[in-house]
Symmetry: C2
Subunit: 186 residues, 2 copies
């Protein structure tokens, strides 16, 4: 496997370049705007080149979701490592802000169409992100699972309600300040 | 306006019959299976008859979402009126169970495609459901808004994560028992 001779990318670099370009297209145009041919054009390689890295559009979407969970987990770990006064509140805000800043990626990560049960790589990336939360919650394994699920539900619900425009924001109200208020009340 | 002469429905009854039939189709086939013509067939009236009550498919979907919020609010009020030991936990469970039992209706009620800002009737029905929660939470208006939003986020998140198959249910685990455990830990 190698990239086409006139490609400016080394193998491996092209995969990363395709993912980066796809993330931009995903946020700008939504999932519907993402095709392997459009992506090839955006990156400046032959229409066939992306297929060396992604079998299908579904494989590309899965790889994007995996990337999303990895970045999400990394951001949560960085926040936890910064030892904030209230780790749960800090993680909660990080979760919601990530969702608002990467709305389409967040939707893709949690899309019911992208079933995690038949995609071990995606399941693993999602579980790794969840484990960051579980580790922060602490306690014995069974209890921490329930508490981590509860914490997850809270921040996921807030992210989804905001993304879906369900919470009536008052005129002049700052969304991020509202998020902080709701999270500290959670 | 009257129903066609060979219709078994009186005016008003037909609207209700259409909504009931649409709710059944929605749960069985999803939103994509819902057309005004299929609905006419299901109810046994002429293809034009549903248009006397719903201008368009979008108007039908909106009416279904309004009905959803009304039933949802009524169920929440009934639970509150039954004076459970832990009203917030009882309401939370009611919320999640409603979502699981009426998955497609719940998705429709919170669909970002059905913008509440341009649909006053839908906005009003959704706000009325939210007010039930706010009333239960109590406190002064500004505080109760934040606390009600927080309570809402928790149960909405749990409902969405379960509906979207994001929570890894262990083999043999009872979903409703898990919901209760998570809610009482919230």
């Amino acid at each position: 496997m190698s990239t086409s001779s006139n490609s400016p990318y080394h193998h491996g670099n092209l995969r990363q370049a395709l993912l980066e370009a796809a993330l931009v297209i995903l946020e700008q145009q939504g999932e519907a705007g993402l095709g392997l041919r459009d992506l090839a054009r955006a990156v400046g390689v032959s229409p066939a080149a992306p297929y060396r890295h992604f079998d299908s559009r579904a494989a590309l979407l899965e790889a994007l979701a995996v990337t999303g969970f990895q970045r999400f987990a990394a951001r949560m770990e960085a926040v936890a490592a910064s030892q904030p006064d209230d780790p749960m509140a800090a993680m909660g805000k990080t979760y919601v802000v990530f969702a608002l800043q990467n709305a389409n990626l967040f939707r893709l990560m949690f899309s019911p169409q992208l079933k995690k049960d038949s995609r071990p790589g995606l399941r693993m990336a999602a579980d790794a992100a969840f484990d960051t939360l579980r580790h922060l919650v602490g306690g014995d394994l069974d209890k921490s699972r329930i508490r981590a699920l509860a914490a997850w539900a809270k921040v996921h619900g807030l992210a989804v309600l905001l993304l879906d425009g369900q919470i009536a924001i008052r005129s002049g109200e700052d969304t991020e300040a509202l998020v902080e208020e709701i999270i500290s009340s959670l």
